[in-house]
Symmetry: C2
Amino acid sequence: MGDSRNTVMGRPREFDIDEALERAMQVFWERGYEGATLSDLTGAMGITKTSMYAAFGNKEQLFRRALERYVEGPASYATRALEEPTARGVAEAILRGAVRTTTLPEGPAGCLTVQGALAASDGGRPAHDLLVGWRNDAGLRLEERFQRAVDEGDLPRDADARRLARYIMTVAYGIAVQAAGGLGHDELQDIADTALRGWQP
Amino acid sequence: MGDSRNTVMGRPREFDIDEALERAMQVFWERGYEGATLSDLTGAMGITKTSMYAAFGNKEQLFRRALERYVEGPASYATRALEEPTARGVAEAILRGAVRTTTLPEGPAGCLTVQGALAASDGGRPAHDLLVGWRNDAGLRLEERFQRAVDEGDLPRDADARRLARYIMTVAYGIAVQAAGGLGHDELQDIADTALRGWQP
DNA sequence: CGACTTATGTACCGCTTGGAATAGAAGTCG
DNA sequence: CGACTTCTATTCCAAGCGGTACATAAGTCG
């Protein structure tokens, strides 16, 4: 199945769409949805506004695509962490991933899903809601993973999976805020360790 | 001492400056520094742009004043909490205050010092830096309070005051993010309780 | 009263915003 | 070749941005 024609009609695109998306992601990450102007974006992407509109639709859809890329790239630790064999390992992996991703030397400080649109005016509400939805999903997936750990006997029967998941996600978000404020990797990892020291489900 | 003339020259101001500041604070709180336009602000304040500029200088100075008001009002719990007799009580009071303030029924969800300018473009950098500075100060005051607790024997001699302070602040910021995402008072208090359950300095 | 001082309302400023229109460039087709 | 399709570059758009000029209103002062 699949018409894998690698030649398409019309003038070929002169830029790499993945590379452009990567640059756009970085801009949104650093400045937030509303803080990133079309000029900022297309400037970093190395293309004109027309090309951007032709390839992505509009600013909001570009943000959507950039978020997808972020989730599958810098934030992919959130999904991988769920595969750790124990609930404790999952919690550790999530906080460790949050620390690493929010202090990536090649990326802006902080987390796109937090600072992309935490507060917004009317124009930024779609982006805000998109991020809230993603954060809620992430929390839910973690809750399900913890519930599984309860069912499997990895966590005590009376452990509250939802409460634990919300707690870990909250610490991760707090780490993102601290990273945006300039705290470095080691200081944040210290915080994560402190949070885990009190891990008693 | 002081020339407490309560009659000043010139046409008297027709609006209450405190009330106007309160409204401006709410707008910044909800939409962030860059998301709040002059029209949003003056509209909520019930005054014209000219009156706003005459009374406050410009948007940035208005934000500064609004932040002062926020710190002395909704965020005053952060200072009061330090007067609790025990370190544990201080931590509890801070998290409880964060939960309450980020879910105030009469105010926007979340915390102004977090969502006021977490990510920013060039124009929002002054506001961003202002908030980072305030958050760092708050963390430092908490650290000093915890250090005092160590010195007084309230906390074990080997407790790390800085680490504990950063941890509590991080949880508070995480709570602010969760509040901005729609979590309610009771759910957040659950998270705060979970964070405190693991409190073992 | 008239000089002075301060606040207000209107109208305006240059600039940037997200977005569209249009013409031409660069390809694949038959 | 020429028809067709797609991307690119330039130009332009109305609306909104933060901020200002200016005339006028409303007070205190001598």
